[in-house]
Amino acid sequence: MSIIGECFVAFLFGSIVGLLVQRSRFCNTAALRDAMLFKTYRNTKALLIAMMILTIGFTGFISIGEGKSMRFDVGFNQIIGLFIFGIGMVLAGACTVSTWVKAGEGNFGAVWALLFTFIGMFLFSLVWSFMYWPPAPSAMTGEFNLETLQLGYANAETLQENTGIPAIFFGLLQFFVLFAIYKAILRKENKQHNDQEINQQNTPA
């Protein structure tokens, strides 16, 4: 496919995802926050289903040698960075997905959040490149290196290359773990509803 064709397909799929995210009120932040804070699981279930579909599709493509999977270095910088991102996402009330949606809806707070997400990433990338420790980009070689706190590439493709087992096997493992969490949430919701019905029967009208 030509580059323009790829861009067009990406734009089409991106638009569909944007429309679905806005209409369904899907929110990654709410998926994690509401489960802990309000014990409601609507978005958590949606996130788990999305992750299940993605896992199977993604590892399936790797197994048959199709697709262009990205390679990410995993290190302690990710763990720290994602923790900071998690705090920021709950304080801002949205991660980047919902911030784009809110910005499109005309929420100026979200426009500010989006603007400073990029400014913050840019400023941090400047500081990060100057120093060797904490790990600099030059340390991210994809190899395990404890001195620079890098764990190397960690994704289904490298697992497939290193072990010779098709990536779909690891995908199915992750699928069943996610499915078990999904079933546990459904059981918990059923229990909540049953408890509520018992309460309503016990309280006089």
Binding site: R25, C27, A30, F38, K39, T40, R42, G93, S98, Q192
Partner: protein, 100 residues
């Protein structure tokens, strides 16, 4: 909107009576004004108001943000309350909640 928005006047604590769709009258004890607040602030303010409320009290929450309006009724299980009605006004939704 949070950033650069004006401070709101204190919530009115004067109780008043309002009517539900089926004609039953309810006395609203407290009004929580969340107009202009984005998700999740209305949910947090509802949680705070519900935890302060006495059993049987009715609370009105004013929200103009559709995500929060939809998120509030499922929260009621956790907050020991019940959702009475969501009434659409000219520029906000009036969500009526009762503490069990």
């Amino acid at each position: 909107m949070g950033l650069f928005s004006k401070k709101k006047a204190a919530d009115s604590n004067t109780s008043y009576e309002t009517e539900l769709e089926d004609g039953t009258k309810v006395e609203v004890k407290e009004v929580v004004d969340c107009i202009g607040d984005s998700c999740p602030r209305p949910q947090l303010m509802t949680k705070a108001a519900m935890s302060k409320a006495q059993s049987g009290d009715t609370i009105e929450v004013k929200i103009d943000n559709s995500t929060s309006v939809e998120a509030i009724p499922p929260m009621m299980l956790e907050l020991q309350g019940s959702h009475l009605a969501t009434i659409k006004k000219d520029r906000y939704w009036q969500v009526l909640l009762r503490k069990n």
